[in-house]
Symmetry: C2
Subunit: 204 residues, 2 copies
């Protein structure tokens, strides 16, 4: 049975299960045991069973898990709707989202097409939100602008932020909860650089 509240570490692992199961399904695999999935993913079988049982008993004793069904179940949990695999790098639709507008303050970019969407001047943002009620915003802007723009967007009804500015967004709203995923690619790069520098430090 689904628990009251799922820990963040569990949720963060779900998309990875989703990816692996999608791949296995594509390869024609019908069933898989927690032991084998664990091997492939570099986890323990226990952990996989624990994780999945946060959401429900998707397996069958003596058999394992049906790949297609488990993939679909996790897709449902994560809110992935049926969607065509169209776009390029980040396939929004495949992940249950639809890219409906792109804005830039640099007018030289406006009018150009990105992933099938025309770039609009930032001045049109307010009218666009009033007309289309977007629920999520992707911020790829300098950190100096991130705070103000995010607050403006909250006023315009945006409730989720995928934030790539080098700034830790923390947003409040009286009525509703605002959710933020801060990506920080710079931090990721520095973590990698640290590893590079300390390569071979660990004896053994």
């Amino acid at each position: 049975m689904a628990k009251d509240s799922i820990s963040h570490s569990v949720i963060r692992r779900m998309p990875r299960y989703y990816r692996f199961l999608g791949e296995l399904e594509r390869q024609g695999m019908i069933r898989i045991s927690s032991r084998e999935l664990a091997e492939r993913m570099g986890l323990t079988a226990s952990q996989i069973r624990q994780d999945l049982n946060c959401f429900g008993g998707f397996g069958q004793q003596g058999y394992g898990y049906n790949v297609t069904e488990l993939h679909a179940q996790i897709g449902k949990i994560l809110g992935v709707h049926a969607g065509k695999a169209i776009a390029q790098h980040i396939d929004f639709e495949k992940r249950g989202c639809k890219l409906i507008g792109i804005f830039d303050s640099n007018h030289a970019l406006c009018g150009k097409q990105i992933a099938g969407v025309t770039v609009d001047p930032i001045e049109n943002l307010e009218a666009f939100c009033a007309a289309n009620h977007p629920v999520m915003a992707v911020l790829c802007i300098p950190k100096t602008a991130a705070h103000d723009l995010a607050h403006q967007l909250v006023k315009l009804g945006v409730r989720a932020f995928w934030n790539f500015s080098h700034y830790d967004l923390r947003l409040e709203h009286e009525q509703e909860q605002i959710i933020v995923e801060n990506v920080h690619l710079g931090d990721s790069l520095m973590t990698l650089a640290y590893g590079l520098q300390h390569q071979g430090d660990a004896h053994e």
Copy 2:
């Protein structure tokens, strides 16, 4: 005193300390206590002191930490060399790295400039590596190509991978350790979408 091996959770937090301290320094702050830094970063003072003491005692009892010094120390730990703030979104130099080559299999893109570097056809990759000995590679390619290209790059001497393909790279090398930072923006987006769907689930 620096510990033998630092846990990954600690290392992942260091770039964030680095960012915050850089900002505080820029604002002219001279000293800061673990308590105040904790408040600003949304952590506990204990955790900050524990984290920093993995690398050494940078503070002073009764005083706190010198912002500039601590920032510099963490920069040193993370391997950030002096570097001019030039490029746009990901400022490699600011993070101790230098972008020296970009390759694409799409010949239409070759010849164009990105962040001051000319895009080369992928066919030139091998000659480029022989001449320049790059130590890190950033992979923004379809997952079908990631595995093979990464192995080719290991043969060409690359020892660190910043991997954006939707594929979990795991690389081995007899002599040297290969380090990989798998980014998975798709997973990040799905985590966000989950939160959006379950907004307000948590009572209170």
